[in-house]
Amino acid sequence: MNGAQDLGGQMGFGPIEIEENEPNFHAKWEERAFALTLAMGMTSSWNIDTSRHARETLHPVDYLSSSYYEIWTKGLEKLLLNAGLVSAEELKAGAALGPAAPVKRIAKAEDVATILAKGGPADRPQTQPARFKVGDKVRTKRMHPEGHTRLPRYARDCIGVIEAVHGVHVFPDSNAAGKGEAPTWLYNVTFRGTDVWGEDSDPTLTLQIDLWEPYLDLA
């Protein structure tokens, strides 16, 4: 979706605020928001693409004026509601008002290291041949889906070259929408800066973007 999260190429955000020796967390509540989000992720009540979509569907004003862990907190509340794990009344009350819904797993402290070390690989078995090979010239689609997508706006309708074939990966556009993983070939595509930004681009710039097969056509 063309939401506030799709920031590549936008202007006017000012200088980057760099903090020397920055801590992981700037307040206790950030630690808790971080850990709550990961622990609830471990219940497998949604997937990583659903959770990204929950964050990017915040109102653009809300998204851009919230800190990172505020975005995570608001996204988590949305995921909990959508999954039917809590009610709006319970969120407001900060207390359970009814029975819990079943979840697949509740991580214990002693499980954390194993779960993190395993992660959640996104590659899947190959069931059909890749449509493109390294060196193929491709054009990204001109598209503006209202749902989740990982083709950034700045890289739509642009010519690039297949740099690498990563394998078959879960397709976020489908997975975020609850329509299944729909695994498809994932490529790394090279774009010249001038082909993306025009003749004013830094001539030494190339962009390397990971893109799924449905985003691409032969050029």
């Binding site: 700037h26 990204r52 907190t73 009350a93 900060g94 992660g119 710039l205 190339t206």
Partner: protein
């Protein structure tokens, strides 16, 4: 009741209250085990951070066979150190050379190689970095105090998928014969994102 002190512990901000309410609710419901939250925080505060990535880079500088493995299958080469899993399931290492400089960004969210770098700094997740790096990498580098020759090719990796990128900075001159551990001290976090170079060895010796 006094409102003079912004940090008075009796006055919690809206977000503090919101997160506290959420934790109470999720604990009440039995969806989370509170000690697991402490363990998650502890893990990223003490065990998973940029020192992991620095060890990988330092090894690649002194061991050509390891470097080969890292460049051909970074996930497996990084797993040799036991660094595996969440936000590092599919790793790719990209090497800086005298001709090419690599930088990593996630314009759509904040994808970052947690297994080797830990949690991302605020600036990496911020709108200024995410918006500008893909269009004006040299302007971004200037803010980090890095100026590259004007003919250096710049590759910006936008992390749009579950593939995570680790920049391997160039080994600084004047480090011949250095041990892996000592070399690792030169490999600062930002040099593995591409917004810095590895430390100048002279500076490390001054600091020590």
């Amino acid at each position: 009741m006094s409102h003079d002190h912004d940090h008075d512990h009796s006055e919690l901000s809206e977000i503090e209250l919101r997160v506290r309410a959420l934790e109470t609710l999720l604990t009440d419901k039995g969806y989370i085990d509170p000690p697991a939250l402490d363990e998650l925080i502890e893990t990223y505060e003490t065990r998973i951070g940029p020192k992991n990535g620095a060890r990988v880079v330092a090894r690649s500088w002194i061991d050509p066979e390891y470097r080969q493995r890292l460049m051909s299958d970074a996930t497996a080469a990084i797993a040799e150190f036991g660094f595996t899993g969440r936000q590092g399931e599919h790793m790719v290492a990209v090497e800086n050379t005298p001709d090419t400089h690599n930088m990593v960004v996630c314009t759509l969210c904040s994808c970052y190689p947690w297994t080797v770098l830990g949690l991302p700094p605020v600036w990496y997740k911020s709108a200024p970095y995410r918006s500008r790096t893909v269009r004006d990498p040299r302007g971004v580098l200037a803010e980090f105090g890095v100026t590259l020759p004007k003919e250096t090719q710049i590759k910006v990796w936008d992390s749009t998928a579950e593939v995570r990128y680790l920049v391997v900075p160039m080994r600084p001159a004047g480090t011949d014969g250095w041990s892996e551990d000592k070399l690792a001290e030169l490999v600062v976090r930002d040099s593995m994102i591409g917004t810095a170079l590895a430390l100048d060895p002279a500076k490390l010796e001054t600091a020590a």
